[in-house]
Amino acid sequence: MELVVPEDCEIPQAGETVDVEVPEGEYVLWAAREAGVWLPADCQQGWCCRCAGELLSGELDQTDARRYFETDRDAALHLLCTAVPQSDCRIRVCQYEEMLDERAKQELPPGNSKR
């Protein structure tokens, strides 16, 4: 899996692209943190959106997320704390604000409460 870390992401790998091995059936967030890429996250139950990332290529299974919508998938946004790769993936991490914008646009929770 390849993680594209934007310049404005507040982790040491900002601006880099990092290769991370994800053991079969494991979550992206867990694997990244195990590899020393401390991606942001709060609930780790697929709810709060803090860990959101944009899927640039590949496929992620989001079944374990507690609050995930088809419109998120349509926008290529995923909750990495509960996302299991189904193929080799390329993911832009630290997309919390983008996820909040998308939810607000779709009037889905947390909606405009954080906008």
Partner: protein
């Protein structure tokens, strides 16, 4: 000392009530107070919704008086966490949302709702078990541990006031997890997995978070 700022240093003018030094000092140390405030609102939203949902979970542990009492401790302590941190949101220039739905929507942890279907006429009680309720309780506590750990990381060495609150809450959330690990282990697996604690002195004692009580309801 300047005549214009007889009691002040920094860039907040004497008597200026539009600025808060309590926020400026965080900014000076690299922590955006607005970002922290929003995170606190999410976290206490979760404490508040948990307080609500635990009421229902506790009610439905009928016949398990020990589980009910322990769930009641966790429920009241989660409310105490909300009470403890709510004033901090205002100190940081924020406010609780006017609409409670908005507050629930932004809660940083999932709804700890009943683990059976709800339809007109009530819950599907035929399929409700103590085990399934204990699983909901355990995962709710785990979410709280993660959230308050993040807030501890964010404030450590920068914002002693918020850090103090967050670490007190974290200590109680870790105790709650231990309680539900013990209860679920025995209920589901017949395994002894001690929490290492005994019951609170009074229901919802909150021995860490009420040491810093803001008022009698906290």
């Amino acid at each position: 000392m300047s005549d214009e700022k007889p009691h002040a240093a920094g860039n907040v003018d004497a008597g200026d009530t539009s600025e808060r030094v309590g926020m400026a000092v965080l900014r000076e140390r690299g922590l955006e107070p607005e970002e922290l405030r929003e995170k606190l609102l999410d976290a206490i939203g979760a404490e508040f919704t948990t307080y609500y949902y635990y009421t229902n979970l506790r009610m439905h542990l009928a016949g398990h008086e020990d589980y009910k009492e322990i769930t009641e401790d966790a429920r009241l302590e989660d409310r105490a966490h909300f009470e403890l941190v709510a004033p901090r949101v205002y100190e940081l220039g924020g406010a609780l949302p006017n609409d409670i739905r908005e507050f629930a929507d932004r809660a940083s942890c999932p709804d700890a709702d009943m683990p059976v279907a709800y339809e007109t006429g009530g819950f599907d009680l035929e399929n409700l078990t103590a085990e399934s309720i204990l699983e909901v309780l355990l995962e709710a506590e785990r979410c709280a541990i993660r959230t308050w750990s993040e807030i501890c990381d964010m404030t450590h060495g920068v914002d002693p006031r918020t850090y103090d609150m967050a670490q007190r809450i974290l200590q109680e959330e870790i105790e709650h997890e231990a309680w539900f690990v013990e209860l679920l282990s025995m209920e589901r697996d017949g395994e002894v997995n001690p929490a290492g604690h005994f019951v609170r002195g009074e229901p919802g004692d909150a021995p860490y978070s009420t040491n810093n009580r803001f008022n009698d309801s906290a």
